[in-house]
């Protein structure tokens, strides 16, 4: 397995209040939620946190969410949530939440999927799996990094592509159900991966794969088949 990046265990152990400050619609099914978290310890792109909601009767729901925003010192972080059918937590965010609401969170958690911006990174994501990868892309831009970075992002169709307006030349988009005129429809394929590996930097890529389990299995298998070493593939599965 790839190595790790040390993380603050104190931040991971403490629940903090976060105040929702802004909601931005990304697609019909996904929205970005911006929070003020005054004591946020900072994070590395790729890290996630645990969020909890509490009902009147004491019932608690907690879920993991990747951090979408790049590291910044403004005491704010952003999450992007898919609206899952009948989803308990994502349902609350998409139908009830409004600026001023408070939730609790702890983190950032786990340094495993983190990318500090030090090594060439090949990012492959599908659906909301692009969230932690976008934190990396944004970090790359905001910090003016020159280390090579490529993003391969898969969505069902253009209207479901999260962060569509933010992608640049580092990004290849793949549409699995519907695509604009003249653009092929299909899954992330061996050809996509082979192209990115062939185009890789000396010493190769660190690969980061994120999405549903099915997607993660598919994409990581393509990488292995194309010759990417297994110990240089990090996977975050959303379930």
């Amino acid at each position: 397995m790839p190595g790790r990046i040390a993380v603050s265990t104190r931040a991971a152990a403490t629940w903090q209040r976060a105040t929702l400050t802004e909601i931005r619609r990304e697609t019909p099914y996904a929205a970005t939620f911006r929070f003020a978290v005054p004591d946020w310890a900072g994070h590395l792109p790729g890290q996630h946190l645990m969020l909890r909601l509490r009902a009147q009767d004491g019932y608690v729901a907690q879920r993991h969410y990747s951090i979408a925003s790049p590291p910044d010192d403004s005491g704010h972080i952003e999450l992007t949530l898919d609206h899952v059918d009948d989803g308990e937590v994502s349902g609350w965010f998409h139908t009830v939440a409004k600026p001023g609401d408070e939730v609790e969170l702890r983190g950032p958690l786990s340094g495993f999927f983190a990318w500090p911006g030090d090594r060439p990174a090949l990012l492959i994501g599908a659906g909301s799996g692009v969230v932690p990868l976008m934190s990396m892309v944004r970090h790359h831009r905001a910090s003016g990094l020159t280390v090579p970075l490529r993003l391969l992002v898969s969505a069902r169709g253009p209207e479901e592509l999260i962060y569509a307006s933010e992608y640049g030349p580092e990004t290849t988009t793949v549409f699995t159900r519907t695509a604009p005129e003249g653009v092929a429809v299909g899954r992330v394929s061996a050809a996509h991966v082979a192209g990115l590996l062939a185009d890789g930097p000396d010493g190769g890529w660190e690969a980061y794969v994120c999405g549903s389990n099915g997607f993660a299995e598919h994409a990581s298998r393509l990488l292995v088949d194309a010759g990417q070493p297994v110990d240089r593939i990090r996977i975050e599965r959303f379930g």
């Binding site: 991971a12 152990a13 009147q56 907690q62 408070e102 340094g111």
Partner: protein
């Protein structure tokens, strides 16, 4: 802790089997592993117990299957908040492997490691006395690779990251040595009933 405005949660029946902060995943069995699922054939699988033992030993697939069978029927709990009720895993009790190697009196902890290099630490007491298994069947089917097949460790009374997939062996130590997630900020023991999720809990 404050109540979240407008959050009622899904209608639920009281469930005493659910540890704090967990939800019932029903028929779902989410896959949570940070690595590529290995293609490990049963013929290539081995299981070793070494470290502070009188006679370190490695079992092949067939040798492990010749040990007395033992099944677990009950619940499992993942640190990511889902629990799964009434599951059945079959394999061999870890006691059947620990007996013949004769652990030294100084052995207090263990590191379980996988064929992929994953590690997780456990107090030895959590692995003995019929509380841990090496399992290769889920229901009556071979354990799927993405869930750790051909064989995984099963320590159902702790969070599931302790139940190392693709188990390759257990090394007995006289001290605690944090494994992969434990070095990543997770709790050293991981008791779901005490909500020992992250270090500091």
């Amino acid at each position: 802790m404050n109540v979240t405005r407008g959050f009622a949660g899904r209608p639920r029946v009281r469930n005493d089997g659910l540890p704090p902060g967990q939800y019932d995943a029903g028929d779902d069995w989410p896959v949570l592993s940070a690595e590529v699922t290995p293609e490990l054939a049963p013929a290539e699988w081995t299981f070793t117990v070494d470290g502070l033992v009188a006679e370190p030993r490695t079992w092949t697939w067939d040798e492990a299957h010749a040990l007395p069978p033992s099944a677990y029927e009950g619940d499992i709990h993942c640190v990511t908040s889902w629990s799964k009720f009434g599951v059945r895993f079959s394999g061999v009790s870890l006691d059947a492997f620990l007996g013949p190697v004769r652990p030294s009196a100084e052995a207090t902890h263990a590191v379980a490691y996988s064929h992929t290099g994953y590690t997780t630490n456990l107090p030895l007491a959590d692995l003995t006395g019929g509380r841990a298994w090496i399992v290769w069947e889920y229901g009556d089917e071979p354990l799927p690779a993405e869930h750790g097949g051909p064989a995984r460790l099963l320590v159902p009374h702790l969070y599931f990251w302790k139940s190392a997939k693709w188990i390759a062996g257990i090394r007995l130590l006289d001290h605690d040595e944090p494994g992969f997630w434990e070095q990543n900020g997770y709790h050293h023991r991981g008791n779901p009933w005490e909500e020992q999720r992250y270090s500091g809990d």
